[in-house]
Structure formats: C-alpha cells, structure tokens
Symmetry: C3
Subunit: 138 residues, 3 copies
C-alpha cells in the first residue's frame, strides 16, 4: 500500500463549470496504481467541485443558470464588502462539494461514461485555483 | 493494511429514495475488516447518494417532495431532449452526493442509530444503477 | 501505512455554524502523521458538516439565514411530530455534508487560508453531537 500527493492549478477565466477530468485522469494514470481511492480537494471557499454530465454543453449551462437562480447575486447579504458575487459564491460552494472521493479500479478512475469532474468557479473575475490530489492504494 | 472492491447493482423501479444500508453493511461485514474507511460511489449523473433518517417513511416522502419542488420538472431547461425528468435529475444529483465516505470501527460501519444509506433515484422510468464499494483498512 | 480513530464530542447550544477546525487540527497534529487522508463523519441526520469562510462572522450569519430560507421551519411537512425544526434539519443536512475528506500534507491538514471546518447544527434545542475522525496515511 502506498500514497502519493499532487497539485493541480486551474485558471478559471470567469464563473462557470470547467472540465478537469482529463487533467486528473492523466495525473492518476502516471502514478500507475492498479486500485485505490483518489481524493480531490478544492482549496477555496468560493469555488467548488462537481461530478456531472460530460456530454451536453446545454446541461452545463442549465446547471450554471440554476445555481445563479437559487443563490442569486441580486439578494441582500450582510457580507457584501467583497462584491455582489462573493456571498453567492460561498452559498454555491456550500451546496456543492469541496472534496470528491473517486475509486480507482483496473488502473483507471471508476467514473461512469457520462461522469466528468468539474471545477465550479463562482467568482466573476479570473481566478487561479489550487486542487489537491491524494491517491492511496497499490 | 489492505483494500477490497465490490459492486452493488440496485434496481430502482421509479424516482425516489431506496434504502441500501443492509446490502452495504452485509458486503462490508463479509470482508471482515476491524477498522477502515468505506467509500460508496454512484456511477451515474441522474441518481445520487444520501445518508438520511431511516425510521420515518414520512421524512423520506418529505425529502422526495422537497427536491421535486426546488428542482422541478415543470421549469424550462435548455437541455430537455431526454425528457422533463432529465435535467432536474442532474440538478438533484448536484445538490446531494455522488460519493459517501463512512468509517468502519469495531468491525462495523460507524453509522448513527437513525442514519440509513439511500440511493436517490431521480429518473421516473425503472433504472439499473451501479454502486461501487471501496474498503481500505485492516 | 497506518490508521487511527478518534471521537469528538461537540455541544451545540442552539442551531447555527460552530467552528471545529482547531479541535480537529489539534487531534490530527497529536497523531503525528506526515501525509494521509482525514475523514470527518457526523453521526446524525439533523446536524451536518461544512467547510466554509472562517474570517467573516457576517458570512456565517448569511449562510445560516440562507439555509433557514431555502428549507424553512414555516413550511408544511408530513413528518412534523418532533417539532417544526425537525424536518428542515433533515433537509439542510441533505443539502450539506455528512462527511468530509481532507488531505494531510507536510504534517498538517491541507486547508486553504480561509477554510474552516464547521459543525452545522440544525436543531434549536442544545444538542450533544458525535463526530468521528478517521486518519489513514503514514
């Protein structure tokens, strides 16, 4: 049994869902484990992680619109000194994931055909995000 | 330290919460670990996982109604070619869990008295779902 | 490779977010791992876990108000015999986390500067909550 650690830097040009499946799968494949558990951890409170539909761009846009609607920038927040997109970013992070656990089987991430791993950026300005990768297994 | 892998097939006759605690506990008990970490992973983007109240069927029905209300089939979605229950399924998946991590202690899953593990099926038609089980420990 | 298990008792005087970062970090530091994976597990269905903004008390209050609004006590629930705060507690738990996975790197939890770990108590009455800690690594 062994473990390894990796760091992914993701530049998000604006708010939205960004597919990071290939980068995470590449890193995992290079570590040459046959089975184990990958933990993906987002180092921030205004960006989050999501496993979602990877085929239809329209589904991605519906998701973005949905979270913009249920945690809107237009609402009144007490915490507003960092701009109108700051508090909704924390709310959308709370409703989605800061970490994902994905099993590794037969040397590959055990993701379904339609499952992609997304960074969900919630700030409007361009952001540089750190994603930690911890892999344990053999 | 060791790890094992298992696969659970769950047939969901319709949308709703389905208790899979016993099947997961049985599989875990047969592996005879004394302590460790179980990861439960749902291989789909229109079904998800939830740890919830296991005693009151009314609480389960309230949960189903709540998610039907906050991510309704009646809303207008851009991604609608797979039917009115498709996009709400992705939204309800995003709001709940694709994976769960549950510690194993004294040879048993460390679940609270009222905690059950549920497959949350979001499609109306009958579905066959794959749930991966990864157990690491000793 | 090794694993350890710990138990944290948290007394929540009322509903709200309670910072448990220091207690979890202290326990982790005492175990003297250099790297690994910490799993934090909440043993209840009417309290949950959240990684959130640790600097601004206003952000914490906005979060509490947001969940009080989207899963309100004032709504009609079928499961209501344990009081008006019971079913909203289950809904708010479903929308947040029962478990967290946090990597350990260079002997410390790999948390961002602004990330705190919170117990999110959803019942109004004082509650005593059990949080399980499972650490695997070396």
């Amino acid at each position: 049994m062994k473990q390894v650690w990796g760091l992914l830097e993701v530049v998000a040009p604006a708010a939205g869902l960004f597919d990071i499946t290939d980068r995470i799968a590449s890193w995992t494949n290079e570590e040459r484990f046959s089975s184990g558990l990958l933990t993906v951890f987002c180092h921030h409170t205004s960006a989050s992680l999501l496993i979602q539909e990877n085929a239809a761009p329209a589904a991605r846009r519906d998701l973005e619109r949905y979270f913009a609607r249920i945690a809107p920038e237009s609402a009144a927040y007490e915490h507003d000194e960092e701009g109108p997109d700051d508090m909704p970013a924390h709310l959308r992070t709370a409703l989605t994931q800061t970490h994902l656990g994905i099993p590794l089987q037969d040397g590959r991430l055990w993701l379904g055909t339609w499952q992609g791993i997304y960074l969900f950026e919630h700030r409007q300005r361009p952001s540089r995000r750190e994603i930690g990768l911890h892999l344990i297994g053999e």
